[in-house]
């Protein structure tokens, strides 16, 4: 009974609270405090180790996150891909490689922030909490890839239905309740990160500058004719 209650709390109540917080606070912050939306780059203060920490981290986490989204969105296609062994191996090894890249980058980011006195000054308690969360999350993700093989397949068969049940407002914790504790930790921490997201520097992910790719080089703002820009 208590186990059931516990699962309901961690995998139903908590996800909804986190998702609700995410949407509400992200929109509120964008509307009320748009000044605070910034990547808060510290490259200006420390440029020697910046590349070796920040670049692996970003490329790693972008690919890994994209992989999770794909498994969530197109689980059947993924299973079909994995039905041939070599394709499964390629996918799993790439996923592990990018996971390790993320971990190396993240450790680099943390070491750099601890090591440079200037960068430490612009690192807030929120940043440290976020780094700790991401570190545990990445480490648990990498250990899953190592010790619970073929995650791409069991994500598609077991985790996708759970996540979809959350999305469809008909939560079903059957699959996730049977998972080992590392998986549970990974899931809970994922939702916590989503809930924490709007209060952190992570909001810069939402303002990636895609319009640059198709806008004209020069920007002119007219105050007397609002619509006209060149």
């Amino acid at each position: 009974m208590s186990q059931h209650f516990f699962d309901q709390f961690l995998f139903v109540a908590l996800p909804y609270v986190c998702l609700f917080t995410f949407f509400l606070m992200t929109i509120y912050r964008y509307r009320a405090q748009s000044f605070s939306y910034s990547s808060l780059s510290s490259q200006f203060l420390e440029n020697k180790h910046h590349f070796w920490a920040v670049v692996p981290f970003h490329y790693g986490i972008l690919v890994v996150t994209a992989g999770h989204f794909l498994a969530f969105l197109i689980p059947r296609t993924l299973l079909a891909w994995n039905s041939v062994p070599w394709r499964l191996y390629v996918l799993e090894i790439s996923a592990l490689a990018f996971g390790i890249l993320t971990l190396i980058g993240l450790v680099g980011v943390i070491v750099r922030r601890l090591g440079s006195s200037k960068v430490r000054i612009v690192t807030t308690p929120t940043d440290w909490i976020l780094f700790l969360m991401l570190l545990v999350q990445t480490a648990s993700g990498v250990s899953l890839a190592l010790f619970y093989p073929w995650g791409s397949s069991w994500f598609a068969t077991n985790m996708s239905p759970y996540l979809w049940s959350i999305m469809k407002l008909a939560p079903d914790v059957t699959f996730v309740a049977a998972m080992p504790w590392v998986v549970k930790l990974h899931v809970v921490l994922a939702f916590l990160t989503i809930g924490f997201f709007p209060f952190t520097r992570l909001v810069h992910v939402l303002v990636i500058p895609n319009p640059y790719l198709w806008r004209k080089p020069q920007v002119v703002r007219w105050y007397s004719r609002r619509e006209k820009t060149r």
């Binding site: 910034s38 920040v54 490329y59 200037k118 500058p209 105050y223 609002r226």
Partner: protein, 497 residues
Amino acid sequence: MNIRSQVSMVFHLDKCIGCHTCSVACKNVWTDRKGADYMWWNNVETKPGTGYPTQWEDQEQYHGGWEKDGDQPIHIKSTGKARVIPNIFHNPHMPSMDDYYEPWTYDYQNLFNAEEGSDQPIAKPISMITGKDIKVEAGPNWDDDLGGSQIYAANDPNLAGLSEQQRLQLSSVERLVLFYLPRICNHCLNPCCVASCPSGALYKRGEDGIVLIDQKKCRAWRSCVSACPYKKTYFNWFTGKSEKCILCFPRLETGQAPACFHSCVGRIRYLGVLLYDADRLEEVANLPDEELVNGHRSLILDPHDPEVIRKAQSAGIPDGVIESAQQSPVYKFVMDWKIALPPHIEYRTLPMLFYVPPMSPVIANFEDGLATHKMQGLFHGIDESRIPMQYFANLFGGGHEGVVRYAMGKQLAVRWHRRAETVGDVDRATADRFLREANCTVEEAEAIYKLTSLCTFEDRFVIPPMYREQAIEMVKEPHEQRAEAGFGFVGGPQRGG
């Protein structure tokens, strides 16, 4: 023809005494804040020298400005559409604080609170970033007045193309020379910072051409810092936003000169409107190097030409702005007299701050141990000046001497003319010959003399009416605006979490 108006500037370097009053005025008004502490939207450099940030003119290092490869259209040297996303995590050409300096203050309290001892207490330098003791090794004016220095002056990127003998000459004690180069944002017509911003946060104001950064749209991608070849966009390390000179637009809008202009002791600064043809910007920015200075001038339109006036009116430029353009001192220096030149036009940003190149002492010859100088002709005096013409050409002529020689010759002729008028040790015929050689009439020489030496506040600053109140009316009900505007940020510009 697409006529626009631009608030433009002239800095008369022959009058700059290097007092840094402009820098201090600007610092006190705009950048005396955490995160902006290292920024000098206005700074004064000693030339030859390395400047701030160190060697900012070396684009092999900083990759600023536009680049032209053969017949290809120009592109931003540091970034571009294909490179912006892969380089967004780490900007490969971003200068770091080490290229500027680490701001510091002093532990003045120690002078009062120090324990009693056998030594005088001192105020130790303290980093304004970390609050810890620092060893001060660089500052915004570290090479101030160090003309001739082997560490600073000798590393000036503008010395490119000078012969070994000319370089030695610049640093020999008897011939040592320096001048000052005050710098602010040039509010360019083809700003590289604007074109590089992935977020579209930077923009040029349509009405007056002032280049600004929308603080609410800036996301700290840092592209503008790398892209600006003059290094006049700065990264606020505390708020995580870029900032730059705003040409004191709140002052301009209320009819006051910008703080640096207003406070200028040497009265070197002039401000006025220029009308230009925005349709030809792309064409001019793509001209070959040697045609850039004249191409840039050809963009600027004669505000007295009835055709220009008619088209300006139909483009929506208010009559008050056109009248202001007709009285613009900048138009006189840049277009009528052609003695003010854009800095580093080869960066192709089409800067709208022009410099009157400074006269330097002529090289003395030694006869029997005494320094003497005999001037045979007007241009002899220019070619013999202590700063080689090639140096000025690198700075103000895109590497080409012609336009700089013209500007220098005219200034020198004006001096001879006034000398003939007032001192009398030069005969009128010689002065007239020099004026003719410099393509200058007596009337023009008098006008140059008056606007250079006897200029009043009103002569120097012809500030156009900005009609802000009318502009706002078109967008919003004035009463509504009054109820909403005025407080700016709620809670101040805090760093995001």
